[in-house]
């Protein structure tokens, strides 16, 4: 180590890195360590017994089998949908494009009851499927449908940017060398798309394995039959969400492809692809969304309004807003600090830090909830101390807030880190050379450059905070009027057969999802415009 005093040009390294490490340790690292220590209390024999119990093995089969199948279905139809969105122009395309993200934004609890409404014995689609001997709801097939729903955007959003960036010259070269359209696709386009397609497949699979919220509704949790794993693994919205923010100036690309002989298909092929892609979209994405609103209003506006102003519902709304109002600013500050330390400075262990920040993505929400039960629950580390001092965390509001902060932890940081890394530090250095102080640099130089990415991260954090089901469900205790968030309230109402009320509350959350998508598109539009303008002024 050099003893000479080295100093950094840009300010705030110690502050931001220190804050990042502190916050990360407190909220993520220490709680997760607790789980491993708890597991270590089991002997190996006990551990093996637990993980190989017949019931558990059945969940493995369903978890992995259904997830694999769902991911495969999504790979095929996601590719078709991405192709249609990039290559063809058709009315309503912008709306379809925006709604592809619905499964990201729609709370899983809402997706679950929507799918149940469609596929139950007397549901919209179920009533036609039942006579054919096809049972969907409360069967493995239903689990499959739910997993297809939540996995679709992963494939579309990873393949779409690659398709958009695809150099038309390659297809033209293939055509000028005499290749048929199918040959061009098979030998030129597919090999280029394959890595993205596989990534999308893997992400959809990982998401499906860890899914809890929507599956719990449609599966009905009959042991051995439909108990999809709550032992899930990876949640990796991160990279895809980042991929979706990758800006592609130029907007609609379809005309570019459709006008040329070498890059367009015969009408028959084109219409087949469009029909398949849009049909799939309508059945798996659009229909569930419509179902929520139709079911909510089935018994009229009055019932709808009553369900929403019910004191329990109001308190659920309040609690949901409170959890979001606390976790969004906390994770926003953390995200900015972490991104500043990581993007503007070089230090050892940077890659490890980035991986650790991603950790909550890779932890199934149920585990996230269990973590806090292990620490603060009655049998937990601090359980007896807390009860002596009459402090309640688990089955109380603080626990819900903690779980929400945990699951929404990486969103802002994940948006900002690549963005700020790509922007480099030249502008900040220039500001420092011109005499700006730390805050001035951030406020006048950095913030204007990252504002759209920041907004994007906030929207995602907020949507997830309000819609989280799994983790919150574990720590909540479901005490009506006290520890019920909106998604939990949906579940309670649903389990009590108050369907209209359940759908009314669900429609609120669906509305929130739609608003999220609208804002997201607006932000993307703004960011693309800013990007285009800077490109133009640069050239």
């Amino acid at each position: 180590m050099s003893t000479a005093k080295t100093f950094r040009v840009l300010p705030g390294f110690n502050l931001t890195l220190g804050y990042t490490l502190g916050y990360l340790s407190l909220l993520i690292l220490i709680p997760l360590t607790a789980v491993f220590l708890k597991t270590a209390e089991l002997s190996w024999g006990e551990f093996i017994d637990v993980v190989t119990a017949p019931q558990v093995v059945a969940t493995y089969q369903l978890s992995f089998g259904a997830s694999l199948l769902a991911a495969a279905i999504n790979a095929v139809f996601g590719l078709l949908l991405a192709w249609a969105l990039v290559r063809y122009s058709f009315p309503g395309k912008k709306i379809v494009d925006a709604l592809v993200d619905l499964p990201f934004a729609l709370p899983t609890a809402v997706a679950g009851i929507a799918l149940t409404a469609l596929y139950a014995k007397n549901g919209w689609l179920g009533q036609y499927l039942e006579p054919l001997g096809i049972k969907v709801a409360f069967t493995p097939l239903g689990v499959l449908v739910a997993l297809v729903f939540i996995g679709l955007p992963f494939v579309v959003r990873t393949v779409q940017p690659i398709l958009e960036d695809l150099d038309t010259e390659l297809e033209e070269a293939a055509a000028s060398l005499g290749a048929q359209r199918w040959q061009t696709f098979r030998h030129v386009i597919l090999p280029i798309l394959l890595p993205a397609l596989l990534t999308g497949f893997a992400l959809a699979f990982a998401r499906a394995v860890g899914e809890y919220g929507s599956v719990i509704f449609i599966a009905g949790n009959l042991p051995y039959v439909s108990a999809a794993g709550v032992d899930g693994q990876t949640h990796r919205e991160g990279p895809v969400m980042a991929g979706a923010t990758t800006l592609h100036p130029g907007g609609d690309h379809a005309a570019r492809f459709e006008s040329k002989a070498a890059t367009s298909e015969t009408p028959l092929v084109k219409w087949t692809i469009l029909a398949l892609a849009l049909g799939f979209f309508a059945i798996f994405l659009l229909l569930p969304l419509i179902a929520v609103f139709v079911e909510a209003l089935r018994k009229g506006w009055e019932t709808y309004a009553t369900a929403l102003v019910d004191p329990d519902a109001l308190s659920a709304i309040k609690l949901t807003l409170l959890a979001a109002a606390i976790s969004v600013p906390l994770n926003l500050v953390f995200g900015v600090a972490a991104a500043w330390a990581i993007a503007k400075f070089e230090f050892r262990g940077k890659q490890i830090l980035i991986t650790l920040i991603d950790l909550p993505f890779s932890v199934s929400p149920v585990i996230a909830g269990l973590v806090f039960v292990l620490i603060f629950g009655a049998q937990g580390w601090f359980g007896s101390w807390l009860s002596e001092h009459d402090i309640r965390i688990i089955f109380a509001v603080p626990g819900i807030v903690l779980a929400t902060v945990f699951v929404t932890f990486p969103f802002v940081a994940r948006e900002l880190i690549p963005l700020m890394q790509a922007q480099g530090r030249e502008e900040e250095e220039a500001a420092v050379v011109l005499g700006a102080k730390g805050w001035q640099v951030f406020w006048h130089v950095t913030l204007p450059n990252i504002k759209w990415g920041l907004m994007y991260g906030v929207i995602l954090t907020n949507a997830r905070a309000m819609g989280e089901f799994g983790a919150v469900s574990v720590v909540s205790g479901h005490i009506r009027g006290q520890t019920n968030t909106l998604p939990l309230h949906v579940e309670i109402l649903y389990n009590e057969y108050m369907f209209s009320a359940a759908f009314a509350v669900a429609s609120l959350l669906a509305l929130l999802a739609l608003v999220t998508l609208v804002i997201k598109n607006w932000v993307e539009h703004q960011a693309a415009r800013t990007y285009r303008e800077t490109q133009e002024s640069a050239s």
Binding site: D167, L170, E172, A175, G178, A179, A262
Partner: protein, 359 residues
Amino acid sequence: MSIQVRNIHKEFGSFTALNDISLDFPTGELVALLGPSGCGKTTLLRIIAGLEQADAGQVLLDGEDASGTHVRERQVGFVFQHYALFKHMTVFDNVAFGMRMKPRGQRPSEANIRAKVHELLNLVQLDWLADRFPAQLSGGQRQRIALARALAVEPRVLLLDEPFGALDAKVRKELRRWLRKLHDELHITSIFVTHDQEEALEVADRVVLMDHGKVEQVGTPEEVYRHPATPFVYGFLGSVNLFHGRVDGDSVRVGDDTLPHEPHDFAPGAEVVAFARPHELDIDTDPASTAGIAARINRVLAFGVTARIELDGSNGATGQHFEVEITRQRVLELGLQEGQAVRLVPSRLKVFEREGASA
């Protein structure tokens, strides 16, 4: 095989890319489409290839109308500006692509494909790169592989879009010579697009000059350089000094000065533009002289065999800049100094009626 285009018209939105273009490309010639960016030359090339559809007009390949033929049936070899090599395939697979895509009945055996690919790679002198991937090649190598790939399907014509555009100056010169040599061996009818006049004049048998979607002049490099048909061609091929003036008897009046010029058929008083190349101007240091245009020397750049003198116009041509090329010897003889007032006397002058003045 010959190529003809007849009355080709193409618009992109409200922008007219090609306006009623008719051209003949005789068999076996190497023709350059030359013009500034946006003049429509690449669009014309892509229409000939079938990559783009003309709004009106015909493309005839070997006398047959090919306008309705899909690009994959036209049997044209097309080399893209950025080569469009398939990154996931080796050099060998890239070159073999066209042959492997043929319908089963016409597809050569794998052994024949192998032989043909190696023959082509030998032709472009890159056989030793067969197992590499495009990313591992230099720009010049990629260019030659792209050419080999296009030749593999035995195209009837070869079309090249800015073939040297993406290369650095040294490689560009080398490849130019190499392309000319290759064409002399193969004698395949070829058209290439370029915005570099030196490249067009050096490589092509014939040059088509285009501007704003129209053909300005067609001719051998010698013809277009020595006898430019329009002010655009004059200005585009090489550097130029220009004088705005008015016809006055036997001379062109530029401000208070006059330029002598050869017999002409302009009406007296017509607004004209007169052109002279830098080497067609001489410098007169005699303060008493009244010939030519008054100017002041701004800079003397005399480090080669030829010296370049930069001047600013005075009198009637104030604000104009001129450039003169004379031998270094002559600079010394005249004892030229920066800031000195001199007169410019053209030895040769090309006069055009000013566009817009007559209309």
